[in-house]
């Protein structure tokens, strides 16, 4: 197997040429130096560098940063929101249990848009994360802290969650690899819900090998998640095989249409030539229902959000106020109005609107019917193709504050990522080039539970492109 960055690191730790304590001390130093600039973390786990290796699992002591909507026992978990400030979960999410059980060292909880509602990490109640390639720009979102931490080297690996592109968008903007698994492959037990029928936890890493490694650790059946699928386990590292002879790859025309930056189009075209040079047959495919994916996605996500966020009453966890002078209803209103930020309020109100009598059929049910059409088109496409490709994001990372006043403009950024969530498919974003010093991401979409195929395509393309990306602000530049 090709010796990628992550594999080389693991071999060095295994052989003892890089002592684990020295490696962890280096990580702690990187966080101390980079954090004042990047703000990738909301909480850093004190003393993580003192981890003592016991039985070494697959992760061999590599550091893993956890998005702040995933529960880690005893570590403050805020979801980027004031309403959960001070909440310390009494249990580990299943993915966290698996990471700890495989000798992953948890460095901290990463910054995110409040309740994962956003594409820039600007909607965090704890200030924006900055892009390590250019700190005046957004890192993407909502898992922006996780992607920035991996890109800068503050953490080796990270977990994100992807409801409408929240892993792939920041992976693209920060020049790292991020994978959204098939719905049901990874347990959501311990993930704080935003839109249950759309979201999945997934890995972010500096290379495809790192992504395959972390996916191997976190994937698998969990009886505590009723939507978890009982399948035999896969070692995704073994799916990274050289060559793409006989692979049929479809380029989705609608993902490269109006609104896509010409520099991104050009970079995707270059990748297509590379895929052909590796032996793949690449053809264009049209999926007309994708035109309606964005409004359908936002209607469904907002409807589910308005229901999920009803649980925050200021009594059981997070923010609370003195209770003496209030009745229940006024108390809840007061806590929720102070605790939730602008974007969360906007989405809950719109969710209530599309679910209300008279609009339920017109918006919510119609969006679910569009979802059926999109699912059908993907299913048909996978009768012909092993994988489908397009850009991860239609635009390059933009300046912090540039789009924050216009929610609709921000929603448009998700046009290339949301179709995958509506259908429940797996997709990976890998860096495929640079434009004006900023990374571009290519998205590879697979059929249900065919993470093996998209990882293989990504692994081969990564080798051929050989980009060797180094952000301006990273541990190697300290």
């Amino acid at each position: 197997m090709r010796e990628t960055y992550t594999l080389k690191l693991i071999r060095e730790i295994e052989s003892g040429s890089l002592p684990l304590d020295e490696y962890l001390a280096r990580k702690a130093e990187a966080i101390a130096k980079l954090e004042p600039l990047l703000n990738s973390f909301i909480t850093i786990v004190k003393g993580f560098e003192n981890y003592e290796a016991g039985k070494l699992g697959l992760l061999r002591g590599l550091t893993v940063a956890i998005k702040d909507n995933i529960c880690v026992e005893g570590v403050e978990t805020t979801c980027g929101s004031l309403i959960l400030k001070g909440y310390r979960p009494s249990y580990d999410a299943t993915v966290v249990e698996r990471i700890k059980g495989n000798s992953g060292v948890i460095t901290g909880k990463t910054n995110m848009d409040e309740f994962a509602m956003g594409s820039t990490t600007e909607w965090s109640a704890f200030g924006p994360t900055r892009n390590p390639w250019d700190p005046s720009r957004v890192p993407g979102g909502s898992s922006g802290g996780s992607a920035a931490a991996v890109a800068s080297g503050e953490s080796e690996l990270a977990l994100g969650s992807d409801t409408g592109g929240s892993i792939r968008c920041p992976a693209s903007f920060c020049g790292v690899v991020g994978l959204k698994p098939t719905y049901g492959l990874v347990s959501r037990y311990g993930l704080i819900a935003y839109a249950n029928s759309l979201e999945q936890i997934g890995p972010i890493a500096r290379d495809v090998y790192g992504c395959a490694l972390l996916l191997t650790v976190i994937a698998g059946y969990d009886p505590r998640d009723s939507t978890s699928i009982d399948r035999s386990s896969t070692d995704y590292r073994a799916t990274l095989i050289d060559g793409l002879e006989g692979f049929r790859i479809g380029v989705i025309r609608e993902l490269l249409g109006e609104g896509v930056d010409r520099r991104i189009r050009s970079s995707i075209r270059e990748s297509i030539y590379k895929l052909e040079s590796l032996g793949a047959v690449v053809e264009e495919i049209s999926m007309p229902s994708i035109e309606f994916a964005l409004p359908a996605y936002y209607i469904i996500a907002m409807a589910e959000a308005s229901s999920n966020l009803a649980r925050y009453d200021g009594v059981r966890y997070g923010m609370n106020l003195p209770v003496r002078d209030h009745d229940w209803s006024r108390y809840c209103e007061e806590v929720r109005s102070r605790g939730f930020g602008l974007e969360v309020k906007r989405r809950m109100i719109l969710g209530a609107y599309v679910l209300s009598a008279g609009y339920y059929d017109r918006y919510y049910i119609k969006a679910l019917k569009v979802r059926t059409l999109i699912k059908r088109e993907f299913t048909d496409a996978f009768k012909t193709f092993d994988a489908l490709i397009g850009p991860s994001m239609p635009i390059l990372p933009f300046k912090i504050g540039e789009k924050v006043e216009d929610p609709l403009e921000l929603y448009m950024c998700d046009m290339d990522t949301v179709p995958v969530n509506l259908a429940g498919l797996p997709a990976i974003s890998i860096p495929c080039g640079l434009a004006d010093g900023l990374p571009i991401g290519l998205q590879i979409i697979g059929s249900y539970f065919r993470e093996d195929l998209i990882l293989r395509v990504a692994y081969n393309l990564e080798a051929t492109l050989d980009l060797r990306l180094k952000p301006v602000f990273s541990e190697v530049c300290l």
């Binding site: 009494s90 409004p295 609370n320 209803s329 209103e333 906007r346 809950m348 609107y353 918006y363 019917k369």
Partner: protein
């Protein structure tokens, strides 16, 4: 969701999700939400007659566990600083 109704409608919708908006938020949302709903109206062009809705990406079914008693982490769950008296949680009047 347009014209003079929108501000009242925003206030009503906010009350449904237990939010009390400031005047500034009411003003902002009444403009923004109308635009977003117009964007949702793009779905009017989708041909969905006779199409069944997909509520969930998987065929969801009931999942049952075996009826076995497991330890209840009561102490951990009651670890709510400032809100617990003995085995009770302070809550507002119903």
């Amino acid at each position: 969701m347009s014209g003079s109704r929108s501000r009242l409608e925003v206030k009503h919708l906010a009350s449904l999700v237990k939010l009390k908006l400031s005047l500034e938020e009411e003003r902002l949302f009444s403009v923004q939400l109308s635009r977003i709903v117009e964007f949702f109206d793009q779905l009017d062009k989708a041909r969905v007659d006779g199409v069944e809705p997909t509520f969930h990406p998987l065929d969801v079914y009931n999942v049952f566990r075996r009826d076995i008693v497991s330890p209840y982490p009561g102490e951990k769950l009651l670890n709510l600083p400032g809100r617990v008296r003995g085995r009770y949680i302070w809550a507002p009047r119903m």
